[in-house]
Amino acid sequence: MQLKAETVLERVTEGDVMGGSKAPSGLAAARPESDPATPAPVVDIKDLSLTYEAADGPVYALSNVNLQIAEGEFVSFIGPSGCGKTTLLRVIADLEQPNGGHIHVNGVSPSEARVRRDYGFIFQAPALYPWRTIQKNVELPLEIFGISKGERRERSRRQLELVNLKGFEKKFPWQLSGGMQQRASIARALSFDPRLLLMDEPFGALDEIVRDHLNEQLLKLWDKTRKTVLFVTHSIPEAVFLSSMIVVMSPRPGRIIDIIDASHLGRERKLEIRETPEFLKIAHRVREGLRAGHSYDD
């Protein structure tokens, strides 16, 4: 037990060093905050902890989380079920209040960032409103932000085309398959063009082929728009394929055990890179991290 804890600690330091050594690209876990050469991180988390008070005692969902994400980064969060990935994203989105630590989003508190509409959140479930057509669902945020009708039409048309839902504008959510619903929810988040995208297992319900296709699309979108993306997944290949930085988490208490830099795979990636040695090396390290986290269960 003691020994295992040490290995984990070691990994954290290792991850931090890796992130720190990559300063020029803006990758930064544990970079000193006062570094004047680099812009302020989009997400800056220090010693964050969150405990849920459940009926049968407290649940330590997040404990001592430290993380800094620079502008334009694609960060994947991977870890066993219940390790706090959703919780972490929800804290960043100001949907959950932490018990301790500091968090800044775009240099302000999460609630200020939320009110500024800095981010788009794609939930684990589509959360489409059943009384609205697909098109009207995609236009929902635009309606709330007071964007004109013509502009709304134009934007929803473009986003629905992007996620391959052209021709389904007038359908209702319950007339579409689960995967199509999830794609509609992605179109909804993209419709108001937020600089920061929080995606909670968006492709969990999709088949491999559609998933590959959407992964490529997402990567293209990320490359083109330079958005910052925080992406939760259970799939190691997906995490490595998409990310410039991979955060490995472990449960009970939920914490970060490794931060892996994958930016050297480049910004433009073809599906074929999944066979290359660099790719497999990173995938191997992610797997090792997940194993170390899992061994706590015994």
Binding site: L95, A127, P141
Partner: protein, 319 residues
């Protein structure tokens, strides 16, 4: 033989049999003194009708139009059959009209008293029921929205609502007559009291029914209270609200009729029922009951129809 064939072949014979039995029952030498042969014939018709209806209801039709037509036919035929039995038994066995008038007698009484029935309908349904229903439902809805915003009001009002809902109309009606006089306003007040709380309770429940993710979505858009109310919470509450509207449509009619037993000008459905019972003219009582049944069903049906249109997306209506 398929169900369709059995149903299709039997149905015309059953209909012809009904007509024959009706003529027979009303003929002078059968009415009031029908023999075993007649009852055997009626029993045979009963069996045949059951087989025919069973065949029809097991039918699988392809086009939706035909399915809807059949869906309408079966309850109508079933209802017609019950009326037929009622008529044949009452006339054939000569049941005294004080105990149970035949449907034909009620029908002719209804047709002969149209002006009186219309006057009663206007007094009870149009004046008391409709106005009371609208005031009760609307104020229940508005108070629910206020109570939803102010927690202590919600905690205080809901138990009170259950308490008032449990009060019998008989108890509140005389009080309302004392307060609002003999004419229709006191009846409308009874209807308001009866419809207010079902609407309040249902709307409060409906406003709390939106799911966590759906709310979080609104929060992530930094949507304000009113935006969230109109774009999320009210649509989610709509099925609950319509549920209350349907419950209230029947409650309102009962309330207004019963309230008229406790003092009223000499018009109104409840008033008519109470005096005609005293006069032993039961066919008029039954004509009023028929009027109440028709008005109540149409009212309920109308609300249900609007509900279907407004909550087409709800799992119970999705096609």
């Amino acid at each position: 033989m398929t169900g369709f064939h059995r149903g299709g072949i039997l149905a015309p014979f059953v209909l012809l049999g009904w007509i024959y039995a009706l003529i027979l029952a009303h003929s002078p030498n059968v009415a009031g003194q029908a023999g075993p042969v007649f009852w055997a014939f009626v029993s045979a018709l009963w069996l045949a009708a059951a087989v025919a209806l069973n065949g029809l209801s097991n039918l699988r039709l392809k086009t939706p139009g035909a399915r809807r037509f059949l869906g309408l036919c079966i309850p109508i035929l079933f209802g017609a059959f019950l009326f037929f039995l009622w008529e044949v038994i009452v006339v054939g066995a000569g049941v005294p009209s004080v105990l149970m008038p035949a449907p034909s007698a009620i029908g002719s009484r209804f047709a002969a008293s149209l002006p009186v029935l219309l006057e009663d309908f206007l007094q009870t349904f149009v004046k008391s029921v409709l106005s009371g229903y609208m005031i009760g439902c609307l104020s229940g809805f508005l108070v629910a929205i206020v109570a939803d915003r102010i927690p202590f009001l919600r905690r205080g009002l809901l138990p009170l609502g259950n308490f008032v809902a449990a009060l019998p109309v008989i108890g509140i009606a005389p009080i309302m007559v004392m307060w609002f006089g003999f004419d229709w306003p006191s009846k409308a007040a009874v209807v308001v009291v009866m419809t207010f709380f079902p609407m309040l309770v249902n709307t409060v429940a409906g406003l709390a029914a939106a799911g966590r993710l759906e709310r979080d979505l609104m929060r992530s858009y930094a949507a304000g209270y009113w935006t969230t109310l109109f774009k999320l919470r009210l649509p989610v509450a709509l099925p609950f609200i319509f549920n209350a509207l349907k419950i209230n449509s029947t409650l309102a009619l009962i309330g207004a009729i019963v309230a008229e037993f406790f003092g009223t000008p000499i018009v109104g459905m409840g008033f008519r029922i109470s005096i005609e019972v005293a006069r032993m003219s039961l066919d008029m009582v039954w004509a009023e009951i028929a009027l109440a049944a028709i008005a109540g069903s149409l009212f309920y049906g109308l609300v249900a129809l609007v509900e279907r249109g407004a909550t087409f997306w709800h799992p119970s209506y999705r096609t």
